[in-house]
């Protein structure tokens, strides 16, 4: 293990170099540009054996990934925001065909208005496309998650595409201390890609992606639903083994000072780092604050989340995207459903749209408002001039 100073994008590219995928097809977009740009340099320098396909759009990038993956190749890509949105048409085809494509997705607000900074609207927009979605709090987690994602996605019980997300600029462009595995150690952990078929195998022809109407479409969706359920066990095994080998265990989520908490927030991504500081300062004043940091959004481990929050009477769920007059943001609706029939007051804060900063004082204010949670609206907007 070596300790390096790297940005989130650099360290995702580094993970890709160690994984050495057979094919990468990508179209650069801010703030994910560097992930595939640095990787393209690795290809040019001969450090990887990857076939790099520069394409004319993200729609083509994901289409090329799907085509390559049907041959049994290990395939990766990276994108953000509008780029991810341009891939939307192909994303559910990748999951339906059970192709374990790995995507480094750097969260950025969807246009419009046009914006390049972080929120989670791009990733949340494809939450029901059959992709696993793993969120990272910092560059270290981004690296660890990409390495684990390959093993999780390619497990025969899963065989689903997976996106590992970081927060645009906050993680993607900030330099941090990151512990990177030795190449061989990383490769050993990831393992060899095995595929149940290859479209290039002329001795064992298969039909892929045929028209599927009222008589079979539903049946073909059921294995995807089952695989997403089964992925939970695989994620736990991969995270536990990662911890055993490298000292950094991973699960569905992380509890931060949660066990005796009277007030807790639930959040995804880089905001959790800010929240730790707020919680520490509140704890010094004797306020029992805590956090449940979610790592997975798909699959969504609802029972385990409800169990982890079962002793907390006041909960604020932080959403970095809005669902426009649904019953709160996407994280809130999931968490609140998971907590149905439980005795907790749960409210929602939508924050940070378009990269609007969220600071320690604001998170402390959320905890403060949780003290009178029953008087607060169900959905609140944090840090906006109303």
């Amino acid at each position: 293990m070596v300790t390096l100073a790297k940005t989130g994008n650099e360290v995702m590219a580094e993970a890709m170099r160690q994984i050495d995928p057979d094919v990468v097809a990508a179209y650069p977009i801010t703030p994910a540009t560097e992930v595939v740009m640095i990787f393209a340099q690795f290809v040019a320098d001969g450090l990887v054996g990857t076939e790099y396909i520069p394409v004319e759009s993200e729609h083509s990038a994901m289409s090329a990934c799907v085509g390559a993956a049907t041959t049994g190749a290990r395939v990766m890509t990276g994108t953000s925001s509008q780029g991810l949105a341009l891939m939307y048409e192909i994303l559910p085809i990748a999951s339906a065909l059970r192709l374990p494509i790995i995507m480094c997705e750097v969260n950025r607000a969807l246009s419009g208005p046009i914006n390049i900074h972080c929120d989670h609207s791009d990733t949340m927009g494809c939450r029901d496309f059959g992709w696993l979605q793993i969120f990272s709090e910092n560059a270290q987690e981004a690296y660890d998650n990409v390495i684990q994602a390959v093993r999780i996605a390619e497990d025969p019980r899963v065989m689903l595409p997976t996106m590992v997300t970081t927060d645009g600029f906050i993680i993607s462009h900030c330099m941090e201390k990151v512990e990177v595995l030795e190449d061989k150690v990383a490769k050993d952990y990831v393992g060899e890609k095995k595929s149940p078929y290859s479209v290039l195998d002329v001795d064992k022809p298969v039909t892929i992606g045929a028209l599927d109407l009222t008589d079979y479409y539903f049946e073909h969706k059921m294995p995807v639903i089952q695989a997403m359920k089964d992925a939970r066990q695989v994620i736990l095994e991969a995270g536990k083994d990662f911890g055993k080998r490298f000292g950094r265990p991973y699960g569905f989520f992380e509890k931060y000072k949660l066990d005796d908490a009277e007030f807790a927030i639930v959040a995804l991504g880089s905001t959790c780092g800010t929240a730790r500081v707020a919680i520490d300062e509140l704890r010094e004043k004797g306020i029992k604050a805590g956090m449940l940091k979610l790592r997975l959004f798909r699959p969504f481990p609802a029972e385990e989340i409800a169990e982890a929050l079962s002793q907390v009477p006041n909960i604020a769920v932080l959403d970095r995207s809005d669902s426009f007059n649904a019953q709160g943001g996407p994280v809130f609706t999931e968490v609140r459903s998971a907590m149905y029939n439980r005795n907790a007051k749960i409210i929602n804060y939508v924050y940070g749209l378009g990269g609007r900063d969220i600071n320690v004082a604001q998170i402390k204010e959320v905890f403060c408002q949780l003290g009178r949670a029953d008087k607060m609206p169900m959905v609140n907007y944090l840090g906006v001039r109303e």
């Binding site: 149940p196 078929y197 298969v206 039909t207 892929i208 079979y216 049946e219 059921m222």
Partner: protein, 96 residues
């Protein structure tokens, strides 16, 4: 139509077996007319075999031997393209 499989009986990872179109019998799409072959007129040019969009012209040892009515959709292209004169070797006739 063969028995419908349930979700657990499907091949893993959305594979479908190759070459299974033969199991889908499109012959019941015909709307009242079918091609009839007249071997005494046929010159074995195989233009019908080339033109048929459904591989429904049966050929054995490079000779036209008749139609596969389980798959023929009755489009009539074979009868139209048949070059024999004055009598065609393929005519479209009403089905009962």
């Amino acid at each position: 139509m063969s028995k419908l499989l349930n979700a657990k009986e499907l091949l893993p990872c959305d594979q479908l077996s190759a070459g299974s179109a033969a199991e889908f019998e499109t012959g019941d799409w015909r709307l009242g007319e079918k091609p009839v072959w007249h071997p005494e007129t046929c010159i074995q040019c195989l233009i019908c075999w080339i033109a048929c969009p459904d591989v429904a012209v049966e050929v054995k040892d490079s000779k036209m031997t008749g139609f596969d009515y389980k798959h023929c959709k009755g489009c009539g292209i074979c009868a139209r393209e048949c070059p024999t004169k004055p009598n065609k070797a393929i005519t479209m006739e009403k089905e009962r």
